[in-house]
């Protein structure tokens, strides 16, 4: 039961990530992406990395989310063309993904509650993933025939994701127990400042130049070219 807080953050964040991809309207997707960034910064808060959490909030939620939302609004549909979202805006495939993620999270809860060994959990995930993929294929091909071509891409996507996930889990279980330092960590700003300036000082200057170049490039790309008229 001591995993309750990180599992709650994990549930919220993965729900936001799935909604960012599967919601019907791009604007809801952009807002959910902002929620995903917020959930990730909650993870950083839980890990006692306070400065990183606030940096993530400031840069991602404060700037990148606004940028993405602004671009989506400039491109996209006017507000009245948004179809009424059903099933909370997700649709069938989004619901399937949410169910998969919920199964994953429930497995975590079960294993931490029963204090079982991690190897068993990872073996289960390694062998269950292909079965899930097979089930997904079967369900999708039984579905509506006239949308089969669209669904084929999505099945391909689920296949790729499951392979990647199984790969990760396989690597972890192959490496055995990863050694972990579970002592308490106090937040220390001086160490961070020391390493940022001494070791990575030159890199920060280069990063500044890169950001300036990216800003210039973005403006130059998005500017309307008036000479051609």
């Amino acid at each position: 039961m001591d995993y309750l807080i990180p599992i709650a953050i994990l549930a919220f964040t993965s729900l936001m990530a799935i909604m960012a991809l599967e919601s019907r309207s791009l604007v809801y997707g952009a807002i959910s992406l902002g929620g995903f960034f917020l959930g990730l910064s909650l993870f950083f808060f839980y890990l006692d990395l306070l400065y990183l959490a606030i940096f993530q909030l400031l840069v991602y939620v404060g700037a990148v989310s606004v940028l993405i939302l602004f671009a989506v609004m400039v491109i996209g549909e006017p507000a009245k063309k948004v179809p009424t979202p059903r099933y909370g805006g997700l649709g069938f495939l989004g619901g399937l993904l949410v169910a998969l993620a919920a199964v994953f999270i429930a497995l975590f809860l079960l294993f931490s509650f029963l204090n079982l060994a991690a190897d068993t959990l990872f073996q289960i995930m390694l062998y269950v993933s292909p079965v899930v993929v097979l089930l997904a294929f079967v369900i999708l091909f039984i579905g509506e025939p006239r949308q089969r071509s669209g669904y084929r891409f999505k099945a391909f996507g689920i296949l790729g994701a499951s392979l990647v996930f199984a790969g990760f889990i396989g690597v972890i279980s192959y490496l055995g127990t990863v050694p972990s330092y579970e002592g308490s960590v106090t937040f220390n700003l001086v160490d961070l400042a020391d390493s940022l300036l001494d070791q990575y000082g030159l890199l920060i200057l280069v990063l500044g130049l890169l950001l300036a170049a990216a800003a210039f490039g973005a403006v130059a790309l998005a500017k309307k070219e008036e000479e051609e008229q």
Partner: protein
């Protein structure tokens, strides 16, 4: 036909309603909480201990009641001050108390009874939730400002940065509010507000860097304690000026009043809002002002350090009141500048000034005159 004037009826109605409301609350407490003794013993256990209880701090001072009261007085004071400067009288009649100080209550009642119009083709969830988010994000910075080393609701090791996190969340809400109104002018108005708020975040952060450099910590209590001998406004005056200007722009006060300009684009991004959502936006703006004024006092004006005949919290309250007075006086004194002039000032003039101030501080330290803490 009754001959009693309407004002008497309203006053008696309000008095009776207040008494009935309080009686209901007392009855509810008695029935729900259980024996009244346990509640009373919690409230009255020890006055000295009650004053530093976290619940007291959150609700009364420096939390909801105090911030609400200052915002209320600021709204009234803004109208009165602007009126006096413009040789008018301002709010005078409401409530019978001198100076029309109950005018805000009258406005509040009027807005509560107004019809909430939701236009037909808007994105309704976003349209309804945007004012709530604006209010929450505007009101949350109040918990960070310390009024003395004991009177702080949330003592965060990176207090200054968390304050700026709330600053950077606000343009998101503006964008959603303007877009969901399904009105081209609202969207353009919210884009202009977005440009203004996002552009002035950079000078705000850079100017707040000077007190952080002088103290060596992001924690607001440390910054306040470090000003025991000399206030930071005397050590880094350029940063203080830049911070105050950027603060006026972030709060959408004159001369940076474009988003709420009454004579351009109807009401900017607020056009489609009426009634309670409008009230939420306005109240959020004024509570944000209380929080930002508190931040300015802690960062530059010495916080709770003052002469010893008053406790620190009182000094803080007096200074915050003075800063709020200066902020609301800008409505009377300044014209409104154009959006391109505004962005010009923000990017090309304020940012180099803030960097100049930091360079001066570093130079003073290298010369050995000033000792920057670590």
């Amino acid at each position: 036909m009754a001959e009693t004037p309407p004002r008497d009826f309203l006053r008696t109605f309000l008095a009776v309603a207040t008494v009935v409301f309080l009686a209901c609350v007392a009855l509810l407490l008695y029935l729900v909480v259980g024996p009244l003794e346990s509640v009373l013993s919690y409230l009255f256990r020890n006055p000295a201990q009650l004053l530093v209880d976290p619940l007291f701090k959150t609700i009364v001072f420096p939390g909801l009641v105090y911030a609400g009261l200052v915002a209320y007085l600021a709204i009234w004071g803004e109208r009165k001050f602007a009126a006096k400067v413009q040789n008018r009288v301002g709010p005078l009649y409401a409530g019978g108390l001198p100076g029309g100080i109950l005018q805000n209550v009258a406005d509040l009642l009027k807005i509560l009874f107004k019809e909430v119009i939701i236009p037909r083709d808007t994105d309704k969830p976003i349209f309804i939730l945007a004012p709530l988010f604006a209010f929450v994000i505007g009101a949350l910075p109040v918990v960070l400002v310390p009024y003395s080393p004991t009177y702080v609701i949330l003592d965060f090791p990176l207090g200054v940065l968390l304050f700026f996190v709330f600053t950077s969340f606000y343009p998101l809400v503006l964008l959603l509010a303007g877009w969901s109104s399904n009105n081209k002018f609202s969207f353009i108005g919210s884009l202009r507000a977005l440009y203004q708020q996002a552009s002035y975040e950079v000078p705000l952060f850079l100017a707040a860097l000077a007190p952080v450099m002088l103290t060596g910590s992001f924690r607001l209590i440390d910054i306040g304690d470090a000003q025991g001998k000399v206030w930071f406004v005397l050590v880094a005056p350029i940063s203080a000026i830049v911070f105050f200007t950027a603060l006026l722009a972030e709060l959408e006060k004159f001369p940076f009043d474009i988003p709420e300009a009454d004579s351009e684009l109807v009401a900017g991004w607020l056009t489609e809002y009426s009634g309670v959502p409008y009230l939420l936006y306005q109240f959020a703006a004024y509570i944000k002002m209380v929080a930002y004024a508190g931040l300015f006092v802690v960062l530059f004006l010495g916080g709770w350090n003052g002469f010893a005949f008053l406790p620190g919290e009182w000094w803080m309250v007096i200074k915050v009141a003075l800063v709020v007075l200066v902020i609301i006086s800008t409505r009377a004194f300044f014209p409104r500048i154009r959006i391109d002039q505004l962005l010009n000032v923000g990017w090309t003039k304020l940012i180099p000034l803030a960097l100049l101030s930091i360079a001066i501080l570093v130079g003073l330290q290298l010369l050995g005159v000033l000792a920057l803490v670590r």
